[in-house]
């Protein structure tokens, strides 16, 4: 039985009769292949990536596992549609905080239509994409103090400037994200720091991006997830996954300098928060 995912923060949402992804109860995520080239391109990427011997194993872990294409009942009632079957990145989490960050100082790429280019560059300039090399696309953070999820409106998120992006990254690791007061960054060292933390994972990805010329990950996002449910092991199980490959192209012997630059900028922000969390986030937004 397929249902609407609970923790989706960005992209098309299967709600109110709209076409969107679904999940099953076995940890799989069904992404409908839409009529245009994008779905085809994404499936083509997954096919290529899963069989690409040049991708090191430790890097493969940063990508959702691909289970091919299957027919499934579409969420908008239009009948059986082909769906890409992927690993559901947030299955196995009870109360996950999730953030989607689109990486790169541009979301457009060579040879796109003028219409698409204009749409992208307008959004890139209106958000932090051009200036920071990344933008927050969506977030859903568990507020430990209120015991509920905090999810700011999508329009608010897209209007973030530099300070807003920094504040969102601080709130992501705070126990009081919904409060107006200064984020406490209470979980910064557990989630961002440590040998299994998000920073370490980002640095591992960065090392690969310094030399990989296989793919250009145009308009891709990094998804960050961690657990809030206090289980017996107290493990945050922080995860980093690359998602959304509708615009991936061959690297053709050139590194993905657009993604790399944005990733480095994102890493710097995380590093700064980690460093200042030792002194607490008391200096305002």
């Amino acid at each position: 039985m397929l249902k609407v995912p609970e923790h989706q923060v960005a992209g098309h949402i299967a709600k109110d009769g709209k076409l969107g992804p679904l999940v099953d109860d076995r940890g799989r995520f069904y992404k409908p292949l839409q009529g245009d080239a994008r779905g085809e391109n994404e499936a083509k990427f997954y096919e290529s990536f899963s069989s690409n011997k040049n991708v090191p194993d430790h890097i493969r872990g940063y990508f959702p596992v691909y289970h091919g294409v299957q027919l499934a009942e579409a969420s908008d009632g239009s009948g059986k549609l082909p769906h890409m079957v992927l690993e559901d990145v947030v299955s196995g989490y009870v109360k996950p905080s999730v953030m989607d960050v689109k990486i790169g100082s541009r979301t457009w790429y060579p040879d796109v239509s003028e219409e698409y280019f204009n749409k992208c560059i307008k959004k890139d300039s209106a958000t932090t994409t051009v200036y920071l090399g990344f933008r927050v696309s969506g977030l859903k953070i568990f507020d430990c103090q209120e015991s509920r999820f905090w999810r700011p409106d999508k329009r608010v998120v897209l209007a973030y400037k530099v300070d807003g992006a920094r504040m969102a990254l601080r709130k992501f690791v705070s126990s009081n994200p919904s409060a107006d007061s200064v984020p406490d960054c209470a979980y910064a060292s557990e989630v961002y720091g440590g040998s299994n933390g998000i920073l370490e994972k980002l640095l591992e990805l960065k090392a690969w991006f310094e030399t990989q010329t296989l793919y250009h990950f145009n308009s891709c996002s990094i998804l960050m997830v961690y657990e809030n449910e206090s289980g017996g092991d107290d493990e945050r199980r922080a995860q980093v996954k690359l998602v959304d490959f509708a615009h991936v192209l061959d690297g053709n012997g050139v590194i993905d300098h657009n993604f790399f630059g944005g990733l480095c900028s994102f890493i710097k922000f995380i590093q700064d928060i980690l460093e200042s969390s030792d002194n607490r986030c008391e200096n305002g937004h």
Partner: protein, 294 residues
């Protein structure tokens, strides 16, 4: 053609620089850069705010105590500004002449970054840059070769590619140019393959171009002082006695007319382009090492 200027009772013999590969040249009555015989380079202050921005950068950079010494060497030494008579009394930026210690320098100017525009620029300027960036390898590769001049050891003269040709090159053309830049064989002959004879002396080694670029890259991963919009990396090496004395390759950052404050954000645009350029250089070094092994 030269200019003799009296300044503080010292005669400065100024002339046009010999190996300028990119940027403004003296043309149509407008002043171009000049060099003296004391190792100094005189750059006319460009109109609108650009000259001002460049001076502001040099002033800030030279007094910035947080710039590590090993990074400072990648920037031209700044000697303030000076009015030079004969050039309409226009003020000029006085810099270290990067080529004064070279007798037969090969020089390449590489504009770094996948975009040459920046958010603070005017709409008109942004459009102009977008067009140029898309037509060149800037968007696709994160850098473009603005110009270069290389010494041909067979012809015993300097060779420069046609400017128009250079503007239209794609990724393969960039690779070819980077090979020609370190070759000894006849460069104007398009049928012969460049021999990359000097690849390891120029690009490789513990003091070579690749090592220097990697040092710069580490700094760029953390520095949030400046955004080096539209800046170039200049690569220089000596051809005179290259077999006996080595290439003395140097990397320098130049052209700071569009530099802005970093405001706590790294220069991800420059960094991405730099990393891409490093890969191109590394590939050429590796393939030239492989062919010498054979």
């Amino acid at each position: 053609m030269g200019l003799v200027v009296s300044s503080y009772s010292v005669k400065m013999h100024l002339k046009a620089p010999e190996h300028q590969v990119a940027g403004h040249i003296a043309k149509d009555g407008k002043p171009g850069p000049l060099v003296d015989d004391k190792g100094r380079f005189f750059k006319p202050l460009q109109g609108d705010s650009r000259g001002e921005i460049e001076v502001k950068f040099y002033e800030s950079f030279s007094s910035n105590t947080e710039i590590p010494d090993h990074i400072r060497r990648y920037f031209p030494v700044y000697h303030g500004t000076q009015a030079v008579e004969g050039s309409d009394g226009a003020a000029m930026i006085v810099l270290e002449n990067l080529l004064s210690q070279y007798s037969k320098p090969s020089v390449m100017d590489v504009k770094m970054g996948s975009r040459t525009w920046y958010p603070e620029a005017s709409e008109e300027y942004i459009q102009k840059c977008l067009r140029k960036d898309a037509r060149s390898t800037t968007v696709s590769s994160g850098f473009r070769i603005s110009g270069f001049e290389v010494y041909d050891h067979k012809e015993l003269s300097f060779w420069k590619p046609d400017r128009k040709l250079l503007n239209g090159i794609k990724v393969d053309g960039v690779r070819l140019a980077l090979r020609k830049f370190v070759s000894s064989n006849t460069l104007s002959d398009t049928s012969s393959k460049p021999d990359s004879a000097f690849a390891s002396s120029v690009y490789g080694g513990s003091n070579g171009v690749l090592t220097q670029l990697l040092e710069l890259k580490t700094w760029f991963e953390n520095q949030t002082f400046y955004h080096f919009n539209s800046c170039s990396i200049l690569i220089i090496y000596e051809n005179e006695s290259i077999h006996d004395d080595g290439a003395r390759a140097q990397v320098k950052l130049v052209d700071f007319a569009h530099v802005h404050d970093g405001n706590g954000v790294i220069d991800h645009n420059f960094l991405g382009g730099l990393c891409s350029f490093i890969n191109f250089v590394r590939d050429i070094l590796q393939s030239s090492d492989e062919s010498t092994d054979n």
